[in-house]
């Protein structure tokens, strides 16, 4: 594990993902090389259909690369079984989706608790971590509400709390502000900054240059090709 500290949090080496639709072959990712270090706040920007979702699926261990090498937190993500991948997602990744993806039948508390149940933590530990996570997004007093009883911004904060609760290696946010109004979106980005300042690694995927600008560094993706952009000012120009 000593080695992992020195290595990047996310390392892509010549990663390709190929889809075959009928006779045509689409390279959703084409020999992508990416490095994201521990504690970085990075945005991934590109128009729809550029390969953003594919990138997110591979980073999030929802899908496997066809070619190349992917290291997450020092661990090579190979041809693991579904259950092993589920375990990696559960321990290392905190997902935040565009449409929140909370379970409608569960309360805010139960939604946040769910990944901890899959970790088989004892009840007392779960309560501790859920309380901590909901407090950090300021929704502890709303814990008994179901998603339908919460506003969009509150739902997304519950989703962030769910990601937070497992204390993951990275937060992977896919258009987290896409379904929110500007003001709520800005508040949400504020939470990401807080997480970043507390030392978390954040990967923010978006098509919105203004949102992407919030990150210290950006990765641009276009037709499956990845281009690293270091400076914040350049971000707006590429969109």
């Amino acid at each position: 594990m000593e080695q992992a500290v020195n290595e990047g949090m996310i390392i892509f080496r010549d990663v390709s993902k190929i889809y075959r639709i009928g006779d045509s072959v689409v390279r959703a990712l084409d020999h992508a090389n990416i490095r994201i270090d521990r504690g970085e706040f990075v945005s991934v920007i590109g128009p729809s259909g550029s390969g953003k979702s594919t990138l997110m699926n591979i980073i999030g261990c929802l899908d496997l690369a066809d070619e190349g090498e992917y290291l997450l937190d020092g661990q090579e993500i190979r041809n693991y079984s579904e259950n092993e991948l589920a375990r990696i997602r559960n321990r290392k990744i905190g997902f935040i989706f565009q449409d929140f993806n909370l379970l409608g039948k569960l309360t805010a508390y139960e939604n946040v608790e769910l990944p901890l149940i899959y970790q088989r933590l004892p009840r007392a530990r779960r309560k501790e971590q859920v309380e901590d996570a909901l407090n950090r997004v300021g929704l502890w007093d709303r814990r008994r509400h179901k998603p339908t009883e919460l506003s969009g911004g509150q739902q997304q904060r519950v989703a962030i709390a769910r990601a937070l609760a497992t204390r993951p290696s990275i937060f992977l946010a896919d258009e987290p502000t896409g379904n929110l109004d500007q003001k709520t979106g800005r508040e949400l980005i504020g939470i990401f900054h807080e997480l970043h300042e507390a030392g978390s690694t954040i990967v923010l995927i978006t098509h919105d240059g203004h949102i992407a600008q919030e990150a210290a560094r950006s990765i641009k993706i276009l037709d499956g090709h990845v281009e690293n952009i270091a400076a914040r000012d350049e971000i707006l120009e590429v969109v």
Partner: protein
């Protein structure tokens, strides 16, 4: 984990009450049919075997079809009583459709003509008065012994002792009541359909009903362990008398052996239980298919939920377990409701038929085990279908 899965399953079960109820209905009806049918068969069986054993399994009932012109007389009863293994023998002649009258009351009764020995053979008890005597037989006396129900309903007495000495007319002929049977003596004959029974001397019945003196039916009591010996000696006696040969399947007479009847009765009802139970089990199977059908719909509807769960770390086992618990919950709750409903239906049937049909604990066990197995079998496929969904496909699924 188990508790969480059960809680989720429960929430899913109650979130669509009508659908869940309709799905359960298949199991409820299946269990209801299984438990009620089998309980009724076993209730009826135990009732019939009670009747047969109250008749005594140490008895033979003999019917003569063809006496070859040499009819049995009272003298033969004495001879048969003296055969090896035989304790006693009494002639039996029954008039099913006689009308008994007393004052304004009348009813259709079964009149049995027999002798003094009959009481001992059938173990009848006397509540008041006396049983038929051999002098009644010899003198063709017009005396009758009635059962308690008849004494109360037709003679209108509140206590059996008041009936002794009263007069009843049976098919127009007046008889003096000399005795009343005790409780529990009515169900002495499986062929008895009436609640009322009357016993009169055999000779009196023969004289009054113009049937001639031939004895075509009689009962034989054997000793404790001598039933087979008694049957063999009666068979020998009758075969010699009618030139019939020792064959059991002869055309002259037939010997009903009560323990044999019990045995074959047991076989018949066992077959009936299995046949009816089998039919009911088929409806349970159909109920199981209903569960599978609704579970498959539920899996499709909840594809996105499955995707979310998998994304945040649910393994295939957890997903599978959750859906399997749900199927089991539907089938077991259905089974519980079915058992409760069966209990109600059986209580109602018992009330209406005035016969006790208790719930057969064996069939309840079978119903529970069967429901469990059905829940498992028909839950496994939808559950594994849910578990095998790929998280990305499931996440991007839109209803």
């Amino acid at each position: 984990m188990i508790f969480q899965s059960m809680k989720m399953a429960w929430e899913s079960v109650i979130s669509n009450k009508l659908r869940t109820f309709l799905t359960m209905l298949g199991i409820i009806i299946g269990v209801l049919a299984l438990v009620v049918l089998v309980s009724i068969v076993s209730g009826a069986t135990s009732r019939v075997t009670d009747v047969i054993s109250s008749m005594g399994t140490d008895k033979l009932q003999v019917s003569v079809f063809d006496d070859s012109g040499k009819p049995l007389k009272m003298k033969d009863m004495e001879d048969i009583s003296a055969l090896p293994g035989v304790r006693a023998a009494a002639p039996l002649s029954q008039d099913m459709g006689a009308t008994v009258k007393s004052g304004k009351n009348s009813a259709s009764v079964q009149v049995t003509g027999t002798t003094a020995a009959y009481r001992e053979i059938q173990g009848l008890s006397i509540a008041s008065g006396r049983w038929l005597k051999s002098t009644d037989q010899e003198n063709h006396t017009a005396v009758a012994v009635v059962n308690g129900t008849l004494a109360k309903d037709i003679l209108g007495v509140s206590h059996t002792s008041e009936a002794v000495g009263k007069t009843v007319t049976i098919s127009g002929v007046p008889y003096t009541v000399v005795g009343v049977l005790g409780e529990g003596s009515q169900m002495t004959d499986i062929f008895s359909m009436s609640a009322y029974s009357v016993y009169i001397p055999y000779s009196t019945l023969v004289r009054n009903s113009r049937t001639g003196g031939a004895i075509n039916s009689f009962v034989v009591a054997a000793g404790e362990e001598t039933l087979a010996e008694a049957e063999a000696s009666v068979r020998g006696y009758l075969s010699e008398r009618f030139d019939a040969g020792d064959d059991e399947e002869n055309e002259h007479y037939y010997i009903f052996n009560m323990s044999q009847i019990m045995d074959s009765m047991g076989q018949v009802t066992a077959v009936m239980s299995i046949a009816l139970g089998g039919i009911a089990a088929i409806s349970l199977l159909v109920g199981g298919i209903g569960i599978m059908n609704i579970m498959l719909v539920s899996v499709t509807e909840r594809t996105r939920e499955i995707g979310i769960r998998k994304a945040i770390g649910a393994g295939n086992g957890s997903i599978m377990f959750q859906f399997l618990i749900e199927a089991l919950m539907v089938s077991l709750i259905g089974c519980a409701v079915g058992v409760l409903a069966s209990w109600g239906v059986l209580a109602l049937i018992s009330l209406i038929s005035k016969t006790n049909f208790p719930m057969d604990p064996g069939v309840v066990t079978v119903a529970v085990v069967f429901s469990l197995v059905i829940g498992l079998i028909f839950g496994i496929y939808p559950a594994s279908k849910a578990a095998s969904k790929k998280p990305i496909d499931a996440l991007h699924f839109t209803n």
